[in-house]
Symmetry: C3
Subunit: 455 residues, 3 copies
């Protein structure tokens, strides 16, 4: 387990302070997306490893290597894939499909080939999108040794009958699968896990957006005093989360909440997909934050189809991990095509995603449980300077209403987030109210409160 | 308890196989309705007994006779009713109302009478429908010794002042109440009960439709290998179900699900009325089947008014018995009139009803409970040939999604029907998925699973 | 505890009998509002005491006095306030703001002052409503020794620059806080509490409407034989309910249901605000009554902002007390202004409120729990003369349907109110059905049934 032990005193006393003192433009996130874009990633290999090293320049992740053949639950780590070049050349030697132009042109994990085939023989190896004739699709063959090429429909239509030279200079060999991990210690071992898959080649929204956003989020978080321990994992989809889970079974019990971060750079509205538990702390926190900041967000029921939440929410793991995306997998036309490029994502959207994630963490951090120390009737707030001096007005300010809610509901059984959900007030106002009442000894925090985390 | 013991090996391994290999036209059901239509049924007597004998030609029901005066719960079996003739004749001797024209003309269970009355004296004994002047209403006086005539409003308006000869050649005598029963044994004693009231005279939708549909359903079911034992009961309304319940108290505990089958031949949309338990297995199965096949169906809350579900759902019986009809009692204008005739019902609607019943039974039969034997993360389906070889596509096929759902949700606590409801996939696809996963040892069936029925 | 012990035999056997035999015009309630209107009430003092004495002329309330300085939970009884005169006079001596014209002109609880100030110096002490230039606002300063004047915006705009004589002839002294209480004993000690705040000066809807309605309700109730003990409390807002609660802690456990009665005289639709328990008996009874009588009523979620339900529903008290109003606090423009006068309220609306309160009490009184003594199947109602003699009709009368519901649902666990909610029939019809079935020994009342109250 990686723990940053030598941390200097954080610049911010809590997440709200960080949120209050920064304006996020998303430029830094977008720059990281742009830097990582050209690399040919896969579920193993040099592109993946190089991606993790770039992240390591920004945050001190530990890079783990798990050897080919290692058993991880029902799976085995596959051979490592290397790719140097790949092309289809016509009889005049011109490359009509060229890996150097786009690393999507080769079916990911293709085995080596060097042969000449007629167009007719080649056809079953070609993948294109008739309905989007300018886009190259993204196809993979991780666990079935095979090869193929992806190309635009226009390219395909331009290929004349005749023979073609077909070359894939790749290698499948005993190597390792790489993933990166950073654990930022809080005062409690109760843990929030944030996961981004980082195995896709030149695709921006899916999922350089998640990778880059989480990287900069970790950087920001590291300047904050935290109650929860926050763990960041960058790993290949499916096999990566399965690998991480199988190697960390003993400490999974520390995880109180988690999010799978993906598809966070496009203009689509936010979507929160419920964890398999349906009403977990993370489900309530994410929903609450989005309801107040992006009321047009969409709440998606849990389903075992999607990203790595499938593994976190499998019945033998059953962790409270949701998924917070913008346009989710399969729900935007550019999904898994060359059109998921640097134009599809924008700094503004990345910044919004960053702030939502930071707010969810802030909400979890603020989510304490209290008892009202003066529970019979309302305590006299005016005497303590917590209430207006003059009475009779039609409306009550939010902060005063929040104090009344905290006092009324704090019986040691309900958390601040429960009260936020019932009162429909944002968590920040209730947090302010709680602090003022705590200072006046009208609320007392309960250790090991309803949603976990003691003091 | 009747058990067909000497059954030959069934032609179909399960209900799905029967469903897959037949096209149901409803002609056979309609023919049975037509054959039974002319008989003058009542809650006892020759018409009822003859109806049961016709059913017995098709399926081997046992016909039970319960003697007049027998106590059945709070009731007593009434005297048996026989009716030979009945008419109102004018002074020239012409029959203006004639039982030979329609057996609805006499109030059902009328006692004998032979007298002459002025029209004025006769008036209180006449029943007609001013708003439907061509239709004869259906009226009964089972438990209050009385007599009367039903006629069209037009007939009534045509009756001149003066004296009328009034004759009812009926008899009320110590006899018996008849009902029919067939029990088709499954591998388990867990039981599904299907009930149709068969006491109404010449009325087609209510309830020759239910009687005939259940008869042919029993015939079809008898060619299928079953897990549940399925019991068919044909009995008079109210007194019949009360009689059956009072005589079978010791084995009621075997009943896991049941349906009252009535009003199944008209063009109306399907209505499912919840059992008194509201969320019983039969409620979930019927709702699920109708949601997928007839999404415009109507879900009705339980109420103690209606057909024989009133008795099955009485507080001292409290069985999980719902009611699956098309236009339910009182909700179609022809209800309990001579217009509920052979034109109101049609083979097509009877066939649809037949298929829905068969599907509900199929769903109950397929409703097993499993544990995922590889619950940590998803098992590698590709290795077992259960998943596509190539990855990267936008959409997933239903059968693969169904496998993911079955794996994700099968913790030994949730039944296939639970998973069908949560996933919104039809039960058949989940059944296919379950079988494939079971063959690959990825699911293991749980004995005595959530919804009853072990292996 | 006050108990009217010497009550004569009540004129009515139950609340339904009272409801059936009276037509309520609201004139008597409106007359009481008019009589109390001119008095200058506050949370202590002569106006409050005089108000209680007027109520005492109508119903035998006991008037309690609690001395200044007494600790009541987190609060202390404040000094008593007396006010004789108050005005602002211009340099020619003419009163431009005059307490004799409206007791709203002085900030309630103002301390004495006698000085001369320039308009500029006076400004911070003046309160007006720019958006409602004809109305005087109502302002208070109970717990912060201060003074001020309320006036119309028009008055304020008419004040020329220059010096003004400012006089408030008030006194703050060690005295007492007054409240009134009447307890009408039922056959059970199970209690319903009805509370009206009576501290506001010349404001009609808030809350002379509640004060007068409850007074006449108590008068009416005292002619009825009751199962519940019914307690009426007339006290100042907040400090009054806190005082009452702190002095009656030992008997609070008797309270089964309660309502805060306020804002009951305007034309607004009814609003029921749920108790903090959300699904308490009073929540279900009030909702049920309003659903049938005023289907356009609005159901409000619980919130710790509002009237004295804040104190009854505080976490250390947690009583099942809801609030039944017409336009609630802050929701009508005239709230806490001089426009909340005798024109805003009308006898008709007061009468409707009176009837709704009486019906809620009637519903609670009728809310018994039964067991069906013949629970297997339906009992034969016809034999007992409880059912129609002739059968076959499309529709069933409400009273017969109610009998079937009572029989079907009465398993000793469900109350009449539960059955009313499920059946959607009004409680009165179910009460009629229950009585008929009880007479026929088909239902037997359960002592200490589901919702409290034994026989």
């Amino acid at each position: 387990m990686t723990r940053s032990t030598g941390r200097v005193v954080p610049a911010h006393p809590d997440v709200r302070s960080h949120l209050a003192s920064h304006r996020y433009t998303g430029d830094e996130i977008y720059a990281l997306v742009s830097r990582l874009y050209p690399m040919c990633r896969s579920i193993t290999g040099a592109g993946l490893r190089e991606t993790l090293r770039v992240i390591q320049e920004i945050i001190p992740i530990e890079i783990h290597e798990v050897a080919t053949g290692t058993t991880v639950f029902d799976w085995k780590i596959p051979k490592e894939w290397a790719i140097r070049d790949a092309y289809i050349a016509n009889k005049s030697g011109a490359r009509v499909v060229d890996f150097q132009q786009s690393n999507l042109h080769v079916v990911n994990y293709s085995c080596p080939v060097d042969t000449t085939l007629s167009l007719n023989e080649l056809e079953p190896r070609l993948h294109s999108l008739p309905d989007a004739p300018d886009w190259i699709p993204y196809r993979t063959s991780y666990y079935n040794e095979d090869w193929g090429f992806c190309l635009t429909q226009n390219q395909r239509d331009g290929m004349a009958d005749g023979d073609y030279r077909v070359v894939i200079e790749s290698e499948l060999f005993d190597g390792s699968l790489s993933y990166g991990e950073l654990c930022i210690a809080g005062t409690s071992t109760d843990e929030i896990i944030l996961f981004a898959h980082c195995c896709h080649p030149s695709l921006c929204n899916d999922n350089l957006s998640g990778v880059a956003m989480l990287t900069l989020l970790a950087k920001a978080i590291s300047t904050v005093r935290l109650r929860h321990t926050i763990r960041f994992v960058f790993a290949p989809a499916t096999i990566g989360s399965i690998t991480w889970l199988s190697r960390n079974q003993k400490t999974l019990q520390n995880i109180r909440a988690g999010l799978v971060a993906s598809v966070l750079g496009d203009a689509g509205k936010f979507r929160y997909k419920l964890s398999g538990q349906d009403d977990a702390l993370i489900d309530r926190a994410s929903t609450h934050v989005l309801e107040h900041r992006y009321p047009d967000f969409e709440l998606l029921e849990f389903s075992p189809w999607g990203y790595d939440e499938r593994q976190f929410c499998s019945p033998g793991i059953d962790l409270p991990v949701g998924r917070l995306t913008r346009s989710p997998n399969g729900e935007y036309p550019e999904y898994h095509t060359s059109a998921d490029d640097l134009d599809l994502v924008a700094p503004q959207y990345l910044a919004e995603s960053f702030e939502v994630y930071l707010e969810v963490i802030g909400c979890l951090e603020a989510n304490r449980t209290f008892v009202n120390t003066s529970p019979q009737g309302e305590p006299q707030l005016g005497r303590r300077g917590l209430y207006g001096k003059m009475g009779g007005f039609q409306h009550i300010e939010d902060i005063k209403l929040a104090m009344l809610w905290m006092l009324n509901q704090s019986n040691g059984q309900r958390s601040l987030l429960d009260i936020a959900q019932r009162s429909k007030l944002p968590w920040q106002v209730l947090d302010d109210a709680a602090r003022m009442l705590e200072e006046n000894q009208l609320l007392r925090e309960v250790a090991n409160g309803k949603d976990g985390l003691g003091q």
